[in-house]
């Protein structure tokens, strides 16, 4: 308990020192104002963007897109990966293809998608969903394939049905990989989303910081960065890490 208190007080100290140094730097450094706005400017940008209704809409738009991609990954990507993984033939066939496509980020496809789908929402959604989907499918397949054949054989010898083997051996064995794939895919997807919003967006947090740059509204950039980071920390802590922890603890696959 006391140790906890110590950490928090050190944070407050670091935060105070950073803000003091930042304010001092902003006031004294011989650079244009837009170069390094003081912390107070970031705070007033926060208040202003809420008063003007822009921040809630940008945050909501970005969240809507990443949640959509997450749902698609969970309810479409995972089943596809599992189905491909169950049979050795399809797994051998799909593995190199998935590995190749998951290694190309959605952003690299963006120029092609611009030609295919035009300059707008559809291109953003395709790019983000692509980025999330492939690591998810790939890791689900990898999870199924990483279950030792011995377990499958053991159950088969005992006369278990194919469905029984999938439910009791393959699926639980694949869960840690699935959770990892979802977390990694969404981490990539969140960044792809920001990049796609910068390049083709008319709203969203990526658009907000990119647009602010063209008007030299640096306080808005810093605010946007803070929110992008904070949103990810919150989503990761409350939704993604529990998923990983639950599967690892439940199925005893800790490898550290």
């Amino acid at each position: 308990m006391e140790r906890h208190w110590e950490i928090v007080s050190t944070w407050v100290l670091i935060l105070a020192a950073t803000i003091a140094a930042w304010s001092l730097g902003a006031a004294t450094l011989p650079v244009p104002d837009y170069f390094l706005p003081p912390p107070s400017a970031v705070l007033s940008a926060f208040v202003e963007l809420i008063a003007k209704g822009m921040l809630p809409i940008f945050v909501a738009e970005s969240l809507r897109r990443i949640v959509l991609a997450a749902l698609l990954g969970l309810f479409v990507g995972v089943p596809i990966g599992l189905l491909l993984g169950v049979s050795r033939v399809t797994a051998d066939f799909a593995y190199p293809v998935l590995n190749f496509f998951q290694s190309i980020s959605g952003i690299a496809w963006l120029p092609l998608m611009l030609i295919w789908f035009g300059f707008g929402e559809r291109t953003i959604l395709v790019a983000v969903n692509y980025t999330v989907l492939f690591p998810v499918i790939f890791n689900a397949l990898l999870g199924i394939r990483s279950v030792p054949q011995i377990y499958v054989n053991a159950l088969r010898t005992l006369g278990a049905s194919r469905w029984r083997i999938v439910r009791d051996v393959l699926l639980p064995g694949a869960l840690p990989n699935i959770a990892m794939g979802v977390r990694l895919g969404l981490a990539y997807g969140w960044r792809a989303l920001i990049a796609a919003e910068m390049l083709v967006g008319a709203n969203g947090l990526g658009f907000m910081i990119f647009n602010a740059q063209t008007f030299h509204l640096t306080a808005r950039i810093m605010l946007g960065m803070g929110i992008i980071g904070a949103l990810w920390v919150v989503l990761d802590y409350f939704l993604l890490r529990p998923l990983e922890e639950a599967t690892i603890a439940r199925w005893g696959m800790v490898q550290r």
Binding site: F35, S105, L112, I115, I194, M198, I209, G229
Partner: protein, 262 residues
């Protein structure tokens, strides 16, 4: 032993077969004329464009620019991140304070730095290196820190009891113990960094593979875009096969540990 090369050939064939099938499907689709060539040129056209770009050197220039940026950023950030990570990780009071801070900057890694980079450094390679530095540094720093902290203190005590100095503890206990995490961090940072690079090159530079494909899309040169995408994929597979997998295998053999998050 005897069938070694045959096994290799079989493995290569098995890996290549799906791609061959995709190529055939692609060729058939373009042959059927359902899509205009601007949307999807036939594979032969893409191959010809790729060959031309290899011959006139433009592809090599862009590959060189992108790979060069990755290497420069790695050389600058990794030693700094590992060094600082160990330095902070050793201080048992400091490390729990810095872990969440590094975690926050991790979640901010990549392209979100671009507008600030352009404000400070303008368009150009300095901005790209700045973005890459932030991406790689915090990932490696964070993982090193976590790695050093995860080494059980009992090993440290054991070495100290045996009369080991602080140097011994750092070089023979903490660094080897943290090595799997450090390698994981470097591996992840190359993945995230490479992706951030492509996005950053599209906006902030006039060379590199990211610029190549984004610029080509302005002129509707779909064949050039596809050459760029395939090049990016192949470069990643080569990095994975020739750099990341050997490093990982070496870590596992040397220290017999695999970190759970790859």
């Amino acid at each position: 032993m005897m069938h070694g090369w045959r096994g290799d050939l079989l493995a290569v064939g098995r890996g290549a077969a799906p791609f061959a099938l995709i190529l055939i499907a692609w060729a058939l689709v373009t042959r059927a004329n359902v899509l205009p060539a601007m949307f999807l040129p036939p594979p032969a056209d893409v191959a010809r464009t790729g060959w031309d770009m290899l011959k006139d050197g433009s592809l090599w220039t862009n590959i060189g620019a992108s790979v060069g940026r990755v290497l420069v950023s790695l050389v600058i950030s990794v030693p700094l991140a590992v060094g600082l990570g160990i330095f902070v990780g050793l201080r048992r009071r400091l490390s729990p304070v810095f872990e969440p801070i590094a975690g926050f900057f991790n979640s901010l890694s990549g392209i979100a730095w671009l507008p600030l980079a352009v404000t400070w450094f303008g368009l150009g390679w300095v901005s790209v290196i700045f973005i890459m530095f932030n991406t790689i540094f915090f990932l490696v720093f964070y993982n090193t820190l976590v790695g050093v902290r995860s080494v059980p203190r009992i090993f440290e005590h054991a070495v100290r009891t045996l009369g080991g100095s602080r140097r011994h503890i750092i070089f023979q206990v903490l660094i080897p113990g943290a090595m799997p995490n450090i390698v994981t961090g470097i591996r992840m940072s190359i993945g995230f960094g490479w992706r951030a690079l492509i996005a950053a090159e599209m906006i902030a530079t006039s060379t590199g593979l990211g610029f190549l494909i984004y610029n080509a899309s302005n002129f509707h040169q779909t064949d050039t875009i596809l050459v760029g995408i395939v090049t990016i994929g192949i470069l990643w597979l080569l990095t994975d096969r020739l750099v990341l997998q050997p490093i990982e295998r070496w870590t596992v053999e040397r220290w017999g540990l695999v970190s759970s998050s790859r």
